[in-house]
């Protein structure tokens, strides 16, 4: 019923700020040692840079962090040949919402306004096939035999 990451091509998602750092981390499959080390270097540079900025000063413990409002997140899936693609997840109580298609190459996309926090989701292709976002860095076992993509906003 489900597909493995890589069966579909995701163009990109376009969140800002933390989404860029968290979700744009490169995904490597079947990487050799050299590629793994190169990837490690890149990821650590990104992580180190992010922490370098964020470690200016230390907050007293138990201080609440002010959270911003909802964040626009674009999800996209390239599914040539599919008649429809929907997205469902914890943000919409797993009720599939149709994604728009605007081109002949099978690109389906949607922009969601999501509150900050963690969300889990899947794409539903043609109403029958649950598909993991191939670009998702983090996955979570859903208890039902399918991996959910994790989206940290």
């Amino acid at each position: 019923m489900s597909s493995e990451p890589g069966d579909y091509l995701l163009t990109h998602r376009a969140p800002d700020g933390v989404m860029d750092r968290a979700m744009r981390a490169p995904v490597a499959r079947s990487a050799g040692p050299t590629r793994a080390l190169a990837l490690a270097a890149v990821v650590l540079m990104v992580l180190g840079g992010a922490l370098g900025w964020s470690l200016h000063g230390w907050m007293p413990s138990n201080d609440a962090v002010t959270l911003a409002s909802d964040v626009p997140v674009r999800l996209a899936l390239k599914a040539p040949g599919a008649d429809s693609v929907s997205v469902a997840g914890t943000f919409n109580e797993w009720s599939p919402v149709a994604m728009a298609t605007a081109s002949e190459d099978g690109l389906f996309q949607i922009v969601l306004m999501l509150p900050q926090g963690r969300h889990e989701y899947l794409f539903l292709v043609d109403g029958v096939e649950w598909v993991v976002d191939p670009q998702a860095t983090l996955l979570s076992d859903d208890d039902f035999g399918v991996s959910n993509a994790i989206l940290d906003v």
């Binding site: 019923m1 933390v18 750092r21 968290a22 981390a25 490169p26 995904v27 490597a28 990487a31 050799g32 793994a36 990837l39 990821v43 650590l44 990104v46 992580l47 180190g48 840079g49 992010a50 922490l51 370098g52 964020s54 470690l55 000063g57 230390w58 907050m59 138990n62 201080d63 962090v65 002010t66 909802d70 674009r74 914890t90 919409n92 109580e93 797993w94 009720s95 599939p96 994604m99 728009a100 298609t101 605007a102 081109s103 996309q109 949607i110 922009v111 969601l112 306004m113 509150p115 926090g117 963690r118 649950w130 860095t137 983090l138 979570s140 859903d142 208890d143 039902f144 399918v146 940290d152």
Partner: protein, 213 residues
Amino acid sequence: MKMHLTAAFVILMASSAYGGEPLPAEVASFLDSVSERGVPIDVVELKAREGLAKGVAPQQLRPILERLVEHLEVAQDVHEDADAALLSATASALRSGASASTLRRLGEVQAGARVRATETLGDLVRMNFSERDALRLTLQAAQATDPNAALIGISGAAASLVRSGLPSSTVAKQIDFAMDSAGQMDDDVRAPKGKAYGHDRDGGPADPKGKDK
């Protein structure tokens, strides 16, 4: 083309109004019984709706929901007076293999970052980090000025590195190194070598050589 793409975007407001269809009787009655146990019913209902959306039969949902409720009850013991988000994150981390005693240590994290810290700890344990490494990295990131961003960064970086084939123990060391380097960069910015100015972390004037004493 871009205009067409842009026009095709559907802007949706995140809303709990999605879904909301009546639940099958057996699921509804189970939720009623759960509400008497004091766990957040919304978390259990969301899992039920997920299963139903994925075509799981209502009778097959019960053991999965039961296990979730058990994890939520443990989560209530871990964090007294926790809200639904923290209980849900803690239950998820327990399911990933984190122990209650380790999760209890996250009580020292500032309140606004506790949910994210719990999620990151669960992520790391799920990636086969030792609980000790996972806790150390999580607590360290949680002390950053923007702990939520730092915690997201660690989860994402760890996932990418583990997926590249590196063992989790190696990844833990590399993230340790990155955070130490970042912390050193910060120290250098605030107090360049050869100069003694600014304030130390206790709020007093920086005077490393004690020459003013």
